[in-house]
Amino acid sequence: MVKLSLDLDARTIYLLLILVVTVPVLSHTMLPVPISDTTKAVYQFIENLAKTKPNSLVVLSFDYSTSNVPELHPQAIVVTQQIFSLPLKVIFVAQWADGPSLTDAVLDVIDKGSKKYGVDYATLGYIPNVATLIGMTTDIQQFFPFDTRGNPTSSLQIIQQFPAAKDASFLMTFTGGEPGLDDYLQYWQTPFKIPTAVGATAISAPGYMPFYNSKQIVGILISLRAAAEYEFLTNEVDLSGAVSAMVAQSTSLLLIVFLVILGNVQYFVRSRTVRKGRSR
């Protein structure tokens, strides 16, 4: 009789997980990442927008909290960097209270090139509720009299050029949940036909697939992996550290797969042993 005595203690599992995450991270091993269609769609849309409608308005919404930083912050960094390297104007907003601070953190690490604050980009800050989200589609100044730096929005050239959010040619939300994409789909994308994309955590991405299939959103960036894919697309490898995290992600996922298989093998062996015992 095969006797399987590989019962793993929770502490052993934790130790294994620490090893498979830390060793690749500390060794800075990199891995080629195949580009998924959902990521490529976002990248291509932004590139085409810059070519077909230069100097048009892009709205980037930071709808995540500090707990989502490992998955969504790298996405925000690489997408913002791509937009800043193209002839596009950007307005930053946030439906989550942490968003404005995380926007500043992104702006601190990217290369802004020749882009000037107030002319090419502006940070409007926190959208506290749906009323503001709806209201700013027709009049930004009424709902955001000042930007996060204390400037009257009426004095910003970008707001004079685009006084309403419905003038946006592209909207992207990096979202850790609600409020996030759903609100933008209801109040921005559907009434004003603003092309929309989403940067999502791995756990919420499956819920956005119907919108991608129905072409309501142009693309989805799914978790940290999409940030790594985006870094390869924009030739900004490891700008956000996503590429070097891919080996750790791969090894940890494979460890979980291994643990599931091992757990089931043990379950079958035990069930068989119990059945044999009963038949005797």
Partner: protein, 219 residues
């Protein structure tokens, strides 16, 4: 139903109906209803902000009483109130939520002194704590996957197989092992997942409509 409850119902119904009506029907004469709806949103913002303020007052009252009466775990209440107000004060002086970011009233030297402190509290403490707590999920998932994910029934077998294939496909290294993993991962995400999610979405939307209508016409 009391008179106040009736009045509340009338207000809820009228507001809900007004916004639903102006969303679907465009009325420009004699009054531009869309403009009225848009401008009233600013008052709604003020209303919601007031509700937020009431929340802070309530939180303070409850925890202040805990401290005053030295109830069990009153020290946590003290930490909560301290963190809430210190962070709020620092944020109002130096953050994207600053009340006077250009230093018109608050001296620039005060703002300059608070900047590193706020950055430390926010980026070095809060971000690190929240990220660590979120990352702990990986350990629970790994342990739970080993202990709980069992092939007991047909349904659990389907779920487990789909879950494993999506997980393998999500790992970039899987493409080096066998490129077919990515194709299977994409098919599961685009076809069965989309079908299931659509069902959930449509079902939830119908339920919300039914609940909203019931709430508006409930008497």
């Amino acid at each position: 139903m009391s008179r106040w409850e009736l009045l509340l119902q009338v207000v809820i119904f009228s507001t809900g109906f007004f916004y639903a009506f102006t969303y679907y029907v465009r009325v420009s004469k004699p009054i531009d209803l869309q403009a009225v709806a848009d401008s009233s949103l600013a008052y709604l913002t003020a209303l919601i902000t007031t509700a937020f303020g009431i929340g802070i007052i309530n939180l303070t009252r409850i925890h202040w009483r805990n401290i005053k009466l030295k109830r069990p775990d009153w020290k946590f209440s003290a930490v909560l109130i301290g963190s809430l107000y210190w962070m709020a004060i620092f944020s109002m002086i130096s953050s994207p939520f600053a009340l006077d970011p250009q230093g018109v009233i608050i001296p620039s030297s005060v703002i300059a002194a608070i900047v590193p402190l706020w950055n430390f509290l926010y980026y070095d403490i809060l971000v690190s704590i929240n990220t660590s707590i979120f990352s702990l999920l990986a350990f629970f998932i790994a342990s739970a996957a080993y202990r709980a994910f069992r092939v007991r029934t047909l349904e659990s077998t389907i779920l487990l197989t789909a879950g494993l294939l999506v997980m393998i496909g999500e790992a970039p290294i899987s493409n080096l092992i066998w490129p077919g993993f990515s194709a299977i991962h994409d098919w599961i995400m685009f076809v069965p997942n989309t079908a299931g999610q659509r069902g959930i979405l449509i079902g939830a939307a119908l339920s919300i409509i039914a609940f909203s209508v019931r709430r508006m016409i409930k008497s």
